[in-house]
Amino acid sequence: MSFYELVKSIKSIRFGILSPEEIRKMSVVNIVTADTYDEDGIPIEAGLMDRRLGTIEPGQKCQTCGNRVRQCPGHFGHIELARPVVHPGFAKLVYSLLKATCWNCGRLLLTNEDVDKYTILMDRYRRKWPQLRLRLADRVIRRASKNTECPHCGEHQYKLKFEKPTTYYEEHKEGTVKLAPNEIRSRLERITDSDVKLIGLDPQIARPEWMVLTVLPVPPSAVRPSITLESGIRSEDDLTHKLVDIIRINERLKDNIDAGAPQLIIEDLWELLQYHVTTYFDNETSGIPPARHRSGRPLRTLAQRLKGKEGRFRSNLSGKRVDFSARTVISPDPIIRINEVGVPIEIAKLLTIPERINSYNIEQVRRLIENGPDIHPGANYIIRPDGRRIDLRFPKDRKAVADAVSIGYIVERHLKDGDIVLFNRQPSLHRMSIMAHKVRVLPYKTFRLNLCVCPPYNADFDGDEMNLHVPQSEESRAEAGVLMLVQEQILSPRYGGPIMGGIQDYISGAYMLTRKETILTREDASQLLARAGYSGELPPPEINEPKELWTGKQLASLFFPSGFNYSLKSNVCLKCPSCKKEDCENDAYVVIRDGKLIKGVIDKKSIGAGQPESVLHRLIKDYGTDVGRDYIDKAFKLFLAYIDSRGLTIGLDEEELPAEAKREVLEAIRQAESKISELIDTYKQGFLERLAGRTLEETLETKIMQELEEARELAGEIAGRYLKETNTALLMARTGARGSFMNLAHMVACVGQQSVRGERIIRGYMNRTLPHFKPGDLGAEAHGFVYSSYKDRLNPIEFFFHAMGGREGLVDTAVRTSQSGYMQRRLINALQDVRVEYDLTVRGTDGSIIQFKYGEDGVDPAKSDHGKAVNVEKIIERVVKAGGG
């Protein structure tokens, strides 16, 4: 089927200007009446809503083609303009054409030799470098415009003036004369085809005189539908309004000409007609007031319809609305697999997949039909081989319908478990923003997703919504399943490492489970493994006496494939100057030998999302994406099971420092303060040494800020020393599950300096930030240093400064998103056509080579090992080992 669809493809699209003849030929009606409907609401003949222009009401037959609404493409009409009018879009081009040609004989103002020279060049360019053609045309026009005497007829050329948007003047000796559009048109008519070619236009497609309109096409009514409001009042489209204006003036002009009105009146009307036509094309033309609706709103005419983000191009052509899609709030589900998505039954009953009945599935499909649209594994429509649709909502006896179907029928059945769908969260910044998932039909009304896919989507559950699309063809489902499935996207092409992985509780759980002190009874161990979906024997217990006990490391080991070797430093590593490796007393050196976790704790560095060169990364690289996915699905559940059984809370009382620690923190800050007052003194006495390239004041500021920063860091350090090992916030910061030491220090020790624009807070009143301080106070407190910790609560002044800093952060984010969004749009637009060819060169659409070999070594970053083409070390290790044994 799709083969025959593909055969009918559009090869190319040619752009051109319609000639008056063409406009008349394609027109079905000459429109002469400015009115649309009569009192009964019937369209007036030869009016703007003439029935021949196509139908817009359902059930009505088109008077031209006989089709109904969906089939009738709409038909153009036309308006015969009483006098020609310049097309505003081409006004500038018309100006250069007039300048470059003789007003008398119509030839290009170039000698025959020049013409020949340029013709040869033009021909060559047309064949080889179409882009250069336009530049040459520019040059020709510029050369020709300089000539003040026609080399062909010897006539003197007058100076031309162009006044935006559509007026031309000629400077005669007697004074300036306005050129009427019909005069312009007749001049353009005189230009020969060969000269037209030299100017870069194609005379077959765009004769210059066509840029002066004598006939105006009227778009079909489907393009400008009128809407009937509830009150029964008809409201016309902006385009119709504008066309009404044009017809009205056109008719008046015609009448006046026929009546032999004075030239002045005719010219006025003519200009008015020009104005209306100009605004009909573009209502934002500079130099003229925009045409307005009765309410004062500027009309949205042709150019406005195409332009910009909400214009036809960006919102209807580059982006299209689709069927078979759903959107709802998301919520987490740690039990479903990472490549699954929980779909609410209600949605599953609305989204369908067309399934062709064959001898294998006919029985199942019959059952679906019997279930109908309201019972879940059901079907909504049947498409008969002749293309007729049967809506399963209506038949009373669906059983009969089910029996009636036979092979070759297509049934649109409900979404069911295992179907492949595309899942997406905006903004779609990278390709992992749309991934294929397998459906899991679940109760309730939210989409459910595994927490490990949050990082690629950048999703959280504070009300985020996501979209779901159901591919409708066999090919698209196959492609989605092979290329877009979640596990195929674990490795990010951005840096060649896993973008999915453990976050937050997964990491805390893994750490707690694999700590040295974790020992489990047979009961506990079995419980945990059962939740992880492990099936198999328990390993021999690590401890036999007095009773059988297992370590957490043993359980965590069960999910590694045998033969898996790796070692790395974990996140809890203190980065000692010389690493003791296996003998690390913090258990921070992870060693996995033959699929057994021998040493070390599992934390962010091992299973974290976005961590290249982690255990997870190695696993996927060495054993493939399916093993990787399976590991995440199973082992990660174990980590959660453990954290569930043990619990992890953080309370206010934990974030309390002992009195002596508080004293120490205070002391540290006091010392910084005294240093600052020293600095201020030296500054005031004028002894402060200036840093190169800075004023004295700046130097002082920098030094003060340095001092305060150190004080805060010291406070954090002190806090770190006094916090108990069991502190959960500390645990999370150390393992990389959430938060940092700085966050912790803010909570327990000291919030520190607040800044706006990278400086201490200086704005506010004259010479002071707040009226609480003396003018000119340079001290820490007066410029936004927050002494308190969050736990100790901030005083009002501190709170205010803190809010200032906080607000800047918010503004920053808002500005950044728009800026980076635009940059990304530009990058994508510039690079989207670039692809790798069969010869591994990288080329643009026109076949121009951008790189001879992609990335200089031809390696796909997504398949690379964190940027490296091949992990040579690993190979050497393997070969050496094999050779030895």
Binding site: I10, F90, R133, R494, R816, M823, E837
Partner: protein, 458 residues
Amino acid sequence: MSEEPSEKAETKEETETETETKAKAKAKAKAKASASTKAKSEGKKPKKAKETGKEEPSKEAEPAQPLSDQPSPPKSRNEEILDSLLAKYSLPESLVVQLKDKTAGLDLTADQLSRIVEETNSAYIKALIEPGEAAGTVAAQSVGEPGTQMTLRTFHYAGVRELNVTLGLPRLIEIVDARRTPSTPTMTLYLDEEHRVSLEKAKEVVARIERIAVENIAKSIEYDMINSSFIVEIDAEVAEDKCLDLDFIAKSIEKLKVGKVSVEGNSIIISPETTAPEKIKRLRERILDLRLKGIKGIKRVVIQKEDNEYVLYTDGSNLAQVLGVKGIDTTRIYTNNISEIAEVLGIEAARNAIIREAFQVLDQQGLDVDIRHVILVADLMTSTGKIRQIGRHGVSGEKSSVLARAAFEVTVKHLLDAAAHGEEDALEGVTENVIVGQPVPLGTGIVELFMRFSKDGS
């Protein structure tokens, strides 16, 4: 160079040496260029792999280091075997280097070595990019996506405390915009052997390049209404520090040809010919802005000590002129002004500069982006021989497809132009095919060969 006339005050000797060094620098640049072209033509090895290898930070620097440090010692046995093995495969240079490096200290049999090479080769082939891959889109996403995570903080300290350099998102936008001048142009100047070790010598170089204008050494400038003359009071201390004497300053001002100049104590008195207040005002600006010495555009120079050598960081950039200054190590000179690099050293150098600058910005923010993506962006920007902006006035604006251009920005103008010139859109790109509702020629859409089915399905 156009500033030459005002420089004549300096001794002839100096200008001579200047031109000499300039010539040398040019010759060096040429030699470099020819070397790289040689490398290109030598085999199927990827072009300039070495150059980019240098740019890759720390990770790649480690294995690359020993190569350049050891002045090619006699080949070890491993290396010899490897060389003969590698001749069979076309592995990229970075891999070859890695292989040699990692096997260097090991005791391996010939058989093991050949297995290593074989496995490396098959792993390499597996990692190759597939035809049809939308390399451009992936690169754009990989460079653009981290943008949301970048700080907007414009100013940061770069190496040197005293100098501010634009970083983060604004700088990245600047790079893809291909702006003529960056918002904070700066140069890193290494010194030649003679000047790099002593602070005194380094200061000499600074004196040669730092632009000193009258306003930098003037304590005050006043207009004496009675005598209708300017009185410029020179800060003697500063002037001495910058090796300038009053007479020289006076002579320089004289060259402005604005009127009589005389020296009186620490002041210079200028009596202009006109008294029109408008002109006087402008004249004041001209006098203050008069360059006495140094190079145009170099506003400030900071000396920094970096492992046993003095390095100069400048505020402002002028590559062409600085290249000719005595004492500069022209092989290590660097500026962040990409268009200047393009002008002086050519488009390949500019390409490398774009890669380096963009990668640095991402790296500094702690964002992990594969260098290949950055390379592709840089290559696209420079593939025509001129730096093209990513956007309306560059790459996107020069697309051959009317629809693609219209869908990006300035829709109406592109459509009208296309109509007038009778353009034809061949629907080869992505946007165009999306617009007409056809499969996009990327990935699986690249295939143009179809199997013909007979109607009866056999």
